[in-house]
């Protein structure tokens, strides 16, 4: 048995059901519902932003979500298979022509917006 398949076997039952998440792709604006544990209490916080990168495979898959908080760009990287992610919702489908949208970091103001995937609806914010 190869090393790769052994590791995949270890992580197999950690993987979440693909049906847990809706179809999303880079450029979409998504809501990530994050479980936050404070002491013995648990609550869900929603983090909304633009999905600018996906990387990794298997249990190492992560998504990078960028949003603007108090005029400051914030990027959070979520391990997709973490049990701390309660839910992901797609708010808006953006039209992205590349896999990594790092160019958004240097954009300011209205230029930050991505074209809606439904062509014709240009620059819906």
């Amino acid at each position: 048995m190869s090393k790769q398949s052994i590791i995949e076997g270890v992580t197999a039952d950690q993987l979440r059901d693909p049906a847990d998440f809706p179809q999303f792709s880079v450029g979409d604006t998504i809501d990530v519902h994050v479980r936050i544990i404070e002491g013995d209490k648990e609550r869900v916080q929603v983090y909304q932003g633009v999905l600018i990168a996906e990387r990794g495979r298997g249990v190492n898959r992560t998504i990078t979500v960028r949003r603007i908080v108090a005029n400051e760009g914030v990027e959070r990287i979520f391990p997709l298979h973490s049990p701390r992610i309660a839910k992901i919702e797609v708010v808006r489908r953006g039209d992205a022509r590349r896999a990594k949208l790092y160019f958004l970091r240097s954009r300011v103001g209205k230029a930050r917006r991505l074209r809606d995937q439904r062509r014709g609806l240009k620059h819906t914010s």
């Binding site: 590791i7 992580t11 973490s82």
Partner: protein, 224 residues
Amino acid sequence: MLNALIGRKIGMTRFFTESGENVPVTVIQAGPCVVTQVKTEDTDGYSAVQLGFEEVKARRSTMPVIGHDHRANSAPLGVHREFRVDDADVELGDRLDVSVFEDTKFVDVVGTSKGKGFQGGMKRHNFRGLEASHGVKRKHRHPGSIGGHSSNLGTGPKIKKGKRMAGHMGHERVTVRSLEVISIDPEKNLILVKGPVPGPADGIVMVRGAVRLYKTKARIAKAG
């Protein structure tokens, strides 16, 4: 039961605990091992247990090894390692697998670190090197002065013994202590420990129950 095994490092991945914590783990394929020799104070002057791991074809082995392992009722084994233990509680020919770690919270892992080749003082001993400017020329990664010619007794013809200098780095025996056992899988002979272990993937490692815990980990072990 003796909680020690020989294994192979498979690689690293991540593991989510039930509370959702993301733990970096190393996967080690350990055992099954055969007790190939039990050393005692009377016969050998010290007490230890020798384990063997991974069967090899007889033609790839040597007669002394074949004979040695045959006494333990085993096919010739490729890897033999010794564990120093008092009261081993095992006998020649016993077979050990990952289930010996069932009640073990922390383990020590001994391996051979990755070889780095011939390295300078900065990488090998964390020397600072010389300055980047202020007139320093062609000596930016220099170890600096290595002292005068003095032996360990006083003055002499040579540099002091043990002076840290450039040289071969890595490929040495390294022990990492008190690694948390995240889970074991007796069916696949796998043990998952928290954090990295020395050596390359596919490298041979020795896993044993933690001999002496770090303070913080001892507190954790005591609490739960």
